[in-house]
């Protein structure tokens, strides 16, 4: 770990101003950032010079429902969201996603704001001491493309990068039609990630997530979340999926399958207005992965075509869970 300045922000405005300085980065729970810093994942030029602590900003941790909108403060820990009975009953996909993220310790520390702003997962990008100076770091090569890509994108690259977004809550927010409110603007959740820079949000350097707003689903609407990982207790998803189904609408989002959360609109079209049964759910699952490619294996690398089968299954199961 290198030396950096540490600044406790008292207000969002203060934090925003501080973030304008060179190589400044915000910290909330720190569960993603600290690992990156300790391992020297980034090149020296990219290493943060200042860390702006958001935890000292008061009253950004809350869950409340007002005039048909669920409002969650950006600093709310994932454990609180998972445990909230109102979220569990009306926004099930989000409560399930928050509850399945990482381990109890990390859910206590990790915040909803941080969970959607975390960096992508790729074991080349994350290898310590900047061992692989990859395209995501300004290099000119994707090492996963030639190497072991069993956990990488099945929907192609973004700007040459095949890392995946590992957030469990992001697909739930997209399925639940959430709005992400910052100090500058408000975005529909599915527009929160950038396609010009691999694995980035669209936030400006001095922009900070303040609140998540989710419209209360009409009665009869159901949502569900499915996660596939080697272990139930702690692992990042190999694939996850959130689904919301109302009388006339369906919203389906996969994650860990692409650089950004992947909204499966073809699957939505396939299930919209139809009975929730095995056959229709199966068809929607197939539609969800109709654009997937997957990479063949080589040597010890099995490739990632198997993730297509898993994604298809999770879409089916998440739909059936909305019955």
């Amino acid at each position: 770990m290198k030396t950096f300045e540490h600044f406790n922000a008292n207000t969002i405005e203060e934090a925003s101003m501080a973030l304008e300085s060179e190589n400044a980065e915000a910290i909330a729970g720190g569960t993603d950032l600290l690992g990156r810093l300790k391992n020297d994942v980034l090149s020296s030029a990219m290493y943060p010079k200042t860390i702006i602590n958001l935890k000292t900003i008061s009253s950004l941790s809350y869950i409340k429902e007002e005039t048909g909108i669920l409002k969650i403060g950006a600093l709310t820990p994932l454990s609180a969201i998972a445990a909230d009975t109102n979220v569990q009953s009306k926004y099930s996909a989000l409560a399930q996603a928050a509850g399945k993220t990482a381990s109890p310790h990390l859910r206590e520390m990790g915040t909803i704001g941080g969970n959607i702003c975390q960096y992508n997962r790729c074991w080349y990008f994350r290898n310590p001491d900047n061992r692989f100076d990859c395209i995501r770091k300004g290099g000119n090569m994707c090492f996963a493309m030639m190497g072991d890509n069993r956990y990488h994108s099945i929907f192609g690259a973004v700007q040459g990068c095949i890392a995946v977004n590992p957030s469990d809550t992001a697909p739930a927010l997209i399925a639940l039609n959430a709005i992400i409110v910052t100090n500058k603007d408000a975005y529909e959740a599915e527009n929160f990630w950038d396609y010009a820079v691999p694995g980035s949000t669209i936030l400006a350097a001095n922009e900070i997530v303040k609140e998540i707003q989710i419209p209360t689903p009409a009665s009869g609407t159901k949502s569900a979340f499915q996660k596939f990982a080697l272990r139930k207790t702690i692992d990042f998803p190999i694939v996850n999926c959130a689904v919301l189904i109302s009388r006339e609408d369906a919203r389906i989002c996969l994650n860990a399958v692409h650089n950004n959360p992947y909204r499966a609109t073809k699957a939505e079209d396939a299930i919209k207005g139809k009975a929730i049964d095995e056959a229709n759910a199966e068809a929607a699952g197939a539609a969800a992965v109709s654009g997937a490619i997957g990479m063949p294996g080589n040597g010890s690398n099995p490739g990632n075509k198997y993730k297509i089968q898993i994604a298809k299954t999770l879409v089916k199961r998440a739909i059936l869970a909305c019955k």
Binding site: R131, R231, Q309
Partner: protein, 760 residues
């Protein structure tokens, strides 16, 4: 026996759960520096130059060392081939140590390491053991890429060891059905819950080392060789370690040497703690292999031939003993009756990390290969593999091809039956792939494997002291890493001495200055030989106590007995003396007995290799395979083992359940992915390494059989490692039973399962 077989409170339980036990990471000495090791980022390269000038100038840096600071003859011979602590002309795996720095803080040391400039000339690399033996493979050593027991490094393709009985080709000709396939195991590593740490400090020419270790005198002799100092100049302290797993034998010796070298140069104490990244690159990586299996059987399942060709990948360096421990595993080849068997071990150098120990090193993969071979032919014949194994294993009195005699503790039919019944085998076994489907997509199956391992003969000593107030202490140095050996030895001692277990109030397991020579804990032998040593010491001490008591009571010593630390007349228990009184009158006296048991002198099965005894054990599991996601879940496991005699019952049960619990994930999810292009480990922290957890993994049902081992202390049989041996075999055969398709390679991750099911 009144104490043996009970579960009195574990000796150091209170200190551990209250955080008072001092582990190496807790050791902090005033003025202590922190060390960091510069490791090779490349898997195979020539070292052109090493420039440490800039690192040395960094404020706060106290010492920088490279191979130039090592005594040229200070080779660490516990490696095959022997190596200095730093690479000299070549690096052979990602993580090979090149230099090290000691500095005032960890941060300065980390920065300084990055200032060392190493110029490399990259060489082509080889990561596959079979590829490594080909003539055009990159040569990792000048002599070739094979290591042999007889001559060390040898021309690529020279077998390390071979054993044979009968004629394999003839056996295959006689077979009605046969199979010939190659299976492979992944790279894994020991993963100690403790941060792997060493602290070293010199006092003139005398060295004190605190280290996580699983037995001190191995490390002791390495330090003596590497630094050219006498054994008594070294004080090694290792009272508590966070894990053994075999990892705390050899790699910890490299860390200890480097720490001591830095400390000597800086003339200050130094601490080195490994990061998780270091753990995943430089700790021993066991059981990496490709194994070719050829097997033949008659239509009724009776075996005609079984051949195991093991291409064992020991990486850039191998831990000595580990590289050729396969020779002992060959005894397992004909555990099921078969007239023609062959076992060939090729020890292959590659550019992977170092090959080394893991609890039950060797048998886990050898048992797996053997069971997979047998099950493939049985599967084709539609025979219930569990029932077949029950009928066709060797019996007590039978010998394996290499003359290992199975003794009374080899009661496999009892353990096979108990394990099968434990999971309800009879109602659950079905023709492979033909079982019910659950929840629309899930298939279940059962598997059974023989779980045994030979023990290793070695030397154990104890020093026993009965103090003038009747309190008892003993010292030995087998290491104390959670295996409960102090409590098991205390139970034996209390039983043999007729003492209260509670009166044994000091058990020192890791201090070389006060303990007599003891080999480290390995090879399921610590209780076996340590038990003999403590029983002998108890006998001698008891004779002295009884002599003194006889004088006080005015009776003959042979008419006395002892219980609960009281010596009394057999014929009249009212005539009695406490241990304390016996040591106070007529003059105050401490009994001190130093006792040594030399392993080979204990009469075990002399015909066998590596120490002979094969107490029985079996593991049966039920798995569920999700055919839509490829996920394998172990639903139930029953581990049944003959322990001869459970000395400390809870400790013994822990050995059985722990071995199975911790190693079952090796079958279906544990691996370290290696970048196929650069040889870099891609797992560098706990996330992504799917080690067992109490939530994800099922706690095995433990069944303990007690058919006494006549050669063991109070009937105890060697138990430490055998519960590990059958884990992969049982899980993989259960998966076959569930889906009816074989998968060749471990672990059974979703990609492989879905591919086998035709869904990729």
């Amino acid at each position: 026996m009144t104490i043996v077989g009970t579960s009195p409170i574990v000796k150091d339980a209170r200190l551990k759960v209250t955080g008072q036990a001092i582990y190496t990471q807790d050791v902090n000495i005033p003025g202590m520096l922190h060390g960091k090791i510069l490791r090779s980022p490349l898997a195979h390269a020539k070292i052109i130059s090493i420039d440490t000038a800039e690192a040395e100038l960094l404020p706060g840096v106290r010492a920088v060392v490279t191979h130039k600071d090592c005594r040229p003859d200070g080779m660490n011979s516990y490696w095959s081939p022997p190596r200095l602590m730093f690479a000299v002309d070549k690096v052979r795996f990602v993580g090979d140590p090149v230099a090290a720095v000691a500095a005032d803080t960890v941060e300065i040391a980390e920065e300084a390491v990055k200032l060392i400039k190493v110029e490399y000339q990259e060489l082509p690399l080889v990561l596959d053991p079979i590829e490594a033996l080909k003539p055009d493979a990159p040569q990792i050593y000048e002599a070739g890429n094979s290591f042999t027991m007889a001559q060390g490094m040898a021309t690529s393709g020279t077998p390390c060891f071979a054993a044979t009985k009968g004629d394999i080709e003839q056996g295959l000709k006689e077979a009605d059905i046969s199979a010939d396939f190659i299976i492979s195991t992944p790279i894994i590593t020991n993963h100690s819950p403790e941060t792997d740490t060493t602290v070293a400090q010199w006092f003139g020419e005398q060295l004190t080392v605190w280290s996580s270790s699983q037995g001190g005198f191995t490390l002791h002799s390495i330090l003596s060789m590497v630094f050219g100092i006498r054994e008594t100049d070294i004080h090694l302290i290792s009272n508590y370690s966070g894990a053994g797993h075999g990892a705390n034998l050899k790699e910890c010796s490299m860390r200890a040497c480097i720490t001591a070298l830095l400390s000597r140069k800086a003339k200050m104490p130094v601490k080195i703690s490994y990061t998780k990244r270091e753990v995943f690159s430089c700790m021993s990586m066991p059981d990496k292999a490709k194994i070719r299996v050829r097997v033949g059987a008659k239509d009724d399942g009776s075996l005609t031939a079984l051949e195991i060709l093991q291409y064992h990948d020991i990486g850039g360096y191998g831990e000595t003993h580990a590289v050729y421990s396969g020779f002992a595993q060959s005894s397992l080849v004909d555990f099921y009756k078969c007239p023609n068997v062959k076992f060939v071990l090729y020890t292959c150098m590659t550019n992977n990390g170092v090959g080394g120990y893991f609890r039950s090193y060797g048998p886990e993969m050898t048992c797996w290969a053997i069971e997979m071979g047998i099950e493939r032919v049985l599967g084709k014949l539609g025979i219930d593999a569990g029932k077949f194994k029950l009928k066709n294993h060797l019996q007590p009195g039978d010998k394996t091809h290499d003359d290992t005699l199975l003794t009374e503790s080899s009661v496999f039919d009892i353990d096979f039956t108990a394990a099968m019944n434990g999971i309800g085998w009879d109602t659950k076994w079905h023709a492979p792939g033909k079982g019910e489907t659950y929840e629309g997509s899930k298939k279940r199956g059962v598997g059974l494997a023989c779980a045994t391992k030979h023990h290793t003969k070695n030397d154990k000593s104890v020093e026993l002291k009965i103090s003038r107030d009747g309190s008892i202490q003993f010292n030995s140095f087998p290491g104390n890493f959670g295996q409960g050996i102090g409590s098991s030895l205390s139970v034996l001692l209390a039983e043999a001495l007729g003492a209260k277990y509670e009166d044994i109030n000091t058990v020192i397991l890791g201090d070389s200055d006060i303990s007599p020579f003891t080999t480290c804990s390995f090879g399921s032998s610590t209780l076996f030989y340590g038990g003999h040593a403590i029983l002998q010491a108890a006998q001698e001490a008891r004779a002295i106590l009884f002599e003194r008591a006889a004088n006080i009571l005015g009776v003959k010593a042979e008419d006395l007995e002892s219980k609960d630390s009281v010596i009394s007349l057999k014929a009249d228990p009212t005539k009695k003396v406490t241990f304390k009184d016996a040591l106070q009158k007529p003059y105050v006296f401490d009994i001190v007995i130093s006792n040594h048991v030399y392993g080979p002198a204990v009469q075990t099965n002399t015909g066998g290799r590596g120490g002979g005894i094969f107490p029985s054990g079996a593991l049966a599991v039920e798995v569920e395979v999700d055919t839509e996601t490829g996920q394998v879940t172990v639903l139930e496991a029953c581990s049944s083992h003959n322990l001869g005699k459970a000395i400390h019952r809870k400790v013994a049960e822990g050995q059985v359940s722990g071995g199975a619990l911790l190693n079952i994930p090796r079958a279906h999810r544990l691996f370290i992915p290696i970048d196929p292009v650069t040889g870099t480990p891609l797992v560098t922290s706990d996330d992504g390494y799917a080690w067992a957890t109490m939530v994800d993994d099922v706690m095995p049902i433990v069944n303990i059989t007690e058919v006494p081992e006549p050669l063991g202390p109070m009937g105890a049989a060697p138990i430490g490692e055998k519960s590990v041996a059958g884990t992969s075999a049982a899980v993989m055969s259960a998966v076959f039973n569930a889906i009816g398709v074989w998968i060749d390679d471990k672990p059974l991750t979703p990609d492989k399962v879905l591919k086998a099911l035709g869904k990729v």
